[in-house]
């Protein structure tokens, strides 16, 4: 699993991310569209693509996409 690929999969859950380009260090709560629906979409995307079960708390304690990436990596091992 590569962080850039994960970042792309993350970004594809949004319609548009405005002028802010999403990168691994992006704080995802700053994305204008961000909502509880997107949190659920990220959980479902990670389950579908990476076969990892994230919890609402995993999202809550992450701030950047790379934080989330580390949690997923730790759950794959």
């Amino acid at each position: 699993m590569e962080i850039l690929e994960f970042t792309e999969n993350f970004a594809s859950q949004f319609n548009e991310t405005g002028s802010v380009k999403i990168n691994p260090e992006s704080k995802f709560r700053d994305i204008e569209e961000w909502s509880s629906f997107h949190a659920l979409s990220i959980i479902a995307m990670v389950d579908e693509i990476y076969k990892v079960k994230l919890t609402g708390d995993d999202i809550r304690k992450s701030s950047t996409i790379s934080d989330l990436f580390e949690i997923i990596k730790s759950k794959i091992k």
Binding site: S36, A39, L40, I43
Partner: protein
């Protein structure tokens, strides 16, 4: 004074999903009202725990996984004749619409709709549901009045129950069997999703005019009403218990 139109004395009540949550609470409360209980659930240990806490005597437990056709058939054959059937077995899964798939739909419908309906049909066919009995499905406000984010398939399965109880109520009126559902708002059980954070749940609670989620026993009281002779002229309806949630 012993007057109590809600008592369940001399009634044999069959409850699915009795090993946890709402089903467990219904089993406790019905036993306190004098019913003889037949309880079923998937988890043997937790089912035995429910069983050990029932008041009165003569109760029976049957561990079974109702999503397995043979286990369902076998259970229908082993059950004695009943006066009431509470279907409380169910699953709640949150998945955004764009991620749903056939497998997910099949699984949720199997547990929330197909299994309980087939079990009910089997019992009717085997003449195990007495004339004058009451059948109650624990459904939801989701799919009947509202939905929630990520709950499209769950809502659909509960909406399907609404259509089914109306048709069943008509057909089974020929046998004086009543069929109703209870549609609760969110109830404090383990059936909430770990995909949600404590903060999201706190915010959701604030949306209820009565400022809390319901308690399992509050659904049980409604179930007792629908099982008792006090509701003898009620069939094909959805009893709403939601702390005022759908008023807003």
């Amino acid at each position: 004074m012993n007057y109590n139109p809600y008592n369940l004395i001399n009634k044999t009540i069959f409850i699915t999903g009795a090993s946890s949550g709402i089903g467990k609470a219904i089993a406790f409360e019905c036993s306190k009202m004098g019913a003889k209980l037949l309880i079923t659930g998937r988890d043997k240990e937790r089912l035995a725990d429910t069983y050990s806490h029932l008041e009165g005597s003569g109760h029976l437990m049957f561990a079974a996984d109702l999503s397995v056709e043979n286990e369902l058939k076998n259970l229908a054959e082993r059950l004695p004749v009943i006066d009431g059937f509470i279907n409380s077995a169910g699953i709640y899964r949150l998945i955004p619409f764009q991620f749903i798939n056939r497998e997910e739909i099949k699984k949720i419908f199997e547990i929330n709709f197909t299994a309980p309906v087939t079990l009910c049909q089997g019992l009717v066919k085997l003449k195990k549901i007495k004339e004058g009995s009451s059948i109650v499905f624990i459904s939801s406000i989701a799919g009947n009045m509202i939905s929630a984010i990520g709950a499209s398939v769950y809502s659909a399965s509960k909406g399907a129950i609404n259509g089914m109880i109306k048709g069943m109520a008509l057909d089974l009126a020929n046998y004086k069997i009543r069929v109703n559902s209870i549609i609760p708002g969110m109830i404090e059980t383990n059936l909430t999703s770990e995909k949600l954070t404590a903060e999201q749940i706190q915010n959701d609670i604030k949306r209820y005019p009565l400022k809390r989620y319901g308690k399992p026993e509050e659904v049980a009281y409604a179930a007792i009403f629908l099982l008792s002779d006090a509701s003898k002229w009620i069939t094909g309806t959805n009893l709403l218990i939601d702390g005022g949630f759908t008023l807003l």
